[in-house]
């Protein structure tokens, strides 16, 4: 029963989020569901934070207020929504050759096994990982028992009761699910991370399917599942997988804005960036610069009027203004500046971090042989790295990777690289975007093969059509 209530606690805000997206025909049905969940739960957690700011506790009535505008809109637009909802599911194996069907089936089976494994461990284990029981789940438990977020610095439960400068998106969603199910149950609450992981895989598959085809998209999705550090991040209740997910979702929305010039996607990109910043401070330090630089590169590499440019910049920042509620109340910004050591003269290249970095990325099991694969793809397809479409994901991937390497090789945080406690899970933030970028580099390979083997000129690549 608790599991049913748990899924209902996430379904309700997802339905609210769906009312924002149902009209967007560019999105597939699967993408609409995933983005509905992203936006709905993210907006709900901001709402619950604002409730704390105005001193209102969680209750059925205060929570219901969040859903009223979406419910009203949904009722008014019920006929439109009904026409957009499609219940048909295409056959997953259609269009594949027999060897392709066999490989697809094997990969799906391996992915399903990973899910079974994650769900089993989450449901049968208590919270036993340090960051979860001292930070994320601890704050969620404090918020749940206090029925809200305390804004009183003198209160022991201030901003969750531990590490006040750490953001509250995950603790608020976990507290919400506990509040909805009526009790605090570690196993149920921790299922939220599994749901996020499902959404991450769904997004990777959906966006790559449009670019490289169904089978290659499944291969890339499987590669993501085959990285042990991701699986263990989900099981352990850490927040890095969530930031990686929101980062990818934000970049994809930006990409769709670039393709369709539909400003709604730009607004969604801004909102999801804000959710990423409300999830972990790396959202401010890594996600925001990467997404914003990508946005700027899109604005200034194609010709637009100044009115359009200014309007777009305003739209992006206005849509992410909700993060200001959090930044104004917490010491997050000063904590980020402190950790990044951008003040003072502590900028030093720590060469002693290079060998441990090499070991962690290439020789240990955390990433399988993922990094070698990325280098391989970039080396072979180096000409396409900064072509349109591929560039759209390469820029945020490389910017975020640079930020991570800066923190670990140019600041005193090199100690966490050498002892291996933080570098691997910080890379989890970058990996989904980097994987999708690699997928875009692969696009066009099969067309080239067909063209040259038949003696015809190589197929005209999508990139070149611009």
């Amino acid at each position: 029963m608790n599991i049913a209530l748990f899924f209902l606690s996430l379904a309700l805000p997802s339905l609210a989020g769906y009312t924002l997206l149902f009209k967007e025909e560019f999105l597939s049905q699967g993408e609409k569901i995933i983005f509905s969940f992203t936006l709905g739960t993210g907006l709900l957690s901001f709402y619950l934070f604002v409730l704390g700011m105005i001193g209102v506790h969680f209750s059925v009535w205060s929570s219901a207020v969040f859903f009223v505008p979406f419910l009203t809109f949904g009722i008014l637009k019920r006929r439109d929504i009904a026409t957009k909802v499609s219940l048909s599911v295409p056959s997953p194996l259609s269009g594949l050759s027999p060897p392709g069907k066999a490989l697809f089936t094997v990969l799906v089976s391996l992915i399903l096994w990973k899910f079974f494994y994650m769900i089993f461990i989450v449901l049968s284990s208590p919270t036993i990982f340090w960051d979860a029981y001292t930070l994320w789940n601890y704050k969620a438990k404090v918020i749940y028992y206090a029925h809200g977020v305390s804004m009183n610095p003198a209160d022991e439960g201030f901003l969750g009761g531990a590490y006040a400068h750490y953001p509250l998106n995950l603790p608020l969603i976990r507290a919400w699910t506990a509040f909805f199910t009526g009790e605090w149950d570690d196993s149920i609450v921790n299922l939220h991370a599994v749901v996020l992981f499902v959404c991450l895989l769904g997004l990777v598959f959906a966006v790559l399917k449009k670019e490289v085809g169904k089978l290659p998209a499944m291969v890339f999705t499987y590669i993501l599942t085959g990285l042990p550090v991701l699986t263990y991040n989900v099981i352990s209740g850490y927040a890095d997988i969530a930031v990686g997910y929101y980062f990818l979702a934000s970049v994809i929305m930006l990409f769709y804005w670039h393709k369709t010039r539909n400003n709604k996607f730009l607004v969604f990109a801004g909102m999801i960036s804000a959710i990423a910043m409300f999830t972990k401070n790396e959202g401010v330090a890594i996600v925001l610069p990467a997404v914003f630089l990508t946005f700027l590169s899109c604005l200034f590499t194609t010709r637009h009027s100044w009115k359009f440019i200014l309007g777009s910049i305003c739209s992006f920042f206005l849509s992410s203004f909700i993060i200001l509620f959090w930044l104004s109340k917490s010491g997050a910004l000063s904590a980020i500046i402190e950790i990044s050591e951008i003040r003072g003269t502590r900028f030093t290249f720590h060469t002693e971090g290079l060998m441990p970095l090499f070991h962690h990325l290439f020789l240990y099991r955390n990433f399988n042989i993922f990094w070698a694969g990325v280098i391989l793809v970039m080396a072979i397809r180096w000409k396409k790295v900064f072509r349109p479409d591929a560039r759209f994901f390469m820029i945020p991937a490389l910017v975020s990777l640079s930020m991570v390497l800066y923190v670990f090789l140019f600041t005193s945080n090199v100690q966490w690289l050498i002892n291996g406690t933080t570098i691997n899970r910080t890379m989890v933030i970058v990996i989904p975007v980097l994987l999708v970028a690699s997928g875009f580099l692969v696009a066009g390979e099969k067309a080239d093969l067909r063209g040259s083997s038949a003696g015809l000129p190589p197929a005209f690549e999508r990139d070149g059509m611009k």
């Binding site: 391996l110 494994y117 284990s125 263990y232 020789l363 391989l376 093969l449």
Partner: protein, 347 residues
Amino acid sequence: MRTLTFIVTLFLCLPGNAAAYEWSARDGFAGWRFSNVSAVQPTEEGVRIFKQADGSEFSFSLPGGTVGAARVVNIRLRTMGTEAQMACVYTAGPNVRYQVLPIFDGKKWKELSFDFTGVVPSRVQVDSVTFVSDSSAPVEIKDISIHRQSFSDLLVPQGLRAFHVNSLPPFLLFGHSLNLWCYGAILVASICITLFLFLKKKRGTLFLTGAVFLLCFLLISVRETFEDFEIIDTTYRDFLSAPPGEKRYHYLSDLIDFSAFVTRTMPLGEKNLYVFSDDYDYLYLKYLLYPLRLVQRQKGDNLGRVNIFYHVGVEAEANWLMENGQAVARMGRTIAYTPTSFLYLQQ
């Protein structure tokens, strides 16, 4: 195809599972040396070794001269002692090396693998192999084998990985990371593919090299999948089949049981607890027992009305608090989970 399968099978068996040393319970202990051991008791599946009551660790050594130059030491064991470790001390000539691995407590047999390949020069004969453990409960041994490294070592599960969410050690193959072997395979295959396609004037390098990459990726990933299955199997046998009070996930399992004990037995209406424990235990208890208010205390600080003592060198004896055999307080009532983890209520 059959030839290929045969060659692959042969390859996988080489240099063979031919063990330099194999021991199981029925072989007895001729030539073994024990230290700080009070008793050795045969059981249905192995032998149980009991530590001396006043010792912190015990050890047993295999007879010298029987191992040759084999470098991989595998031992299957189980214990109900929490936070236990097993060290393997490997002596070969002037080289003395050791490795320490955690033993996850529970009823399932755990296989520990100590690989000294590359750490000790090859061909140097082994003088002795000694196992040392600090387990608080008896350790039951099922079998021991010592052999040269082979591909089959990749199939030895490396156990529960609760500790390794941040950093997973590599699978080793002949002393090198399995990843490294895969890079070598991809590099060689890529060069061959590129040369072949160049000579044939065709394109498709990324596709074919990608296929080799995917194959290597799958190899490592499927190995992880077998390990995941082992973890589920272990979790099931240790947890679901254990009697109440002995459920085991992780080294924190005892704290989970203890916090449930505290919740059951502490006086109604009390909201504040004074906790005498180390920092890590305190933080976990703080999470488990929330919304109770826990206040951390050091040994020697004043007691509160309701106090928790958890492995801080203070024991409960009747209603006395004892430290190093000396009574330090008798003003309250003890509710003991174990002699070293208990509630102490001030009167």
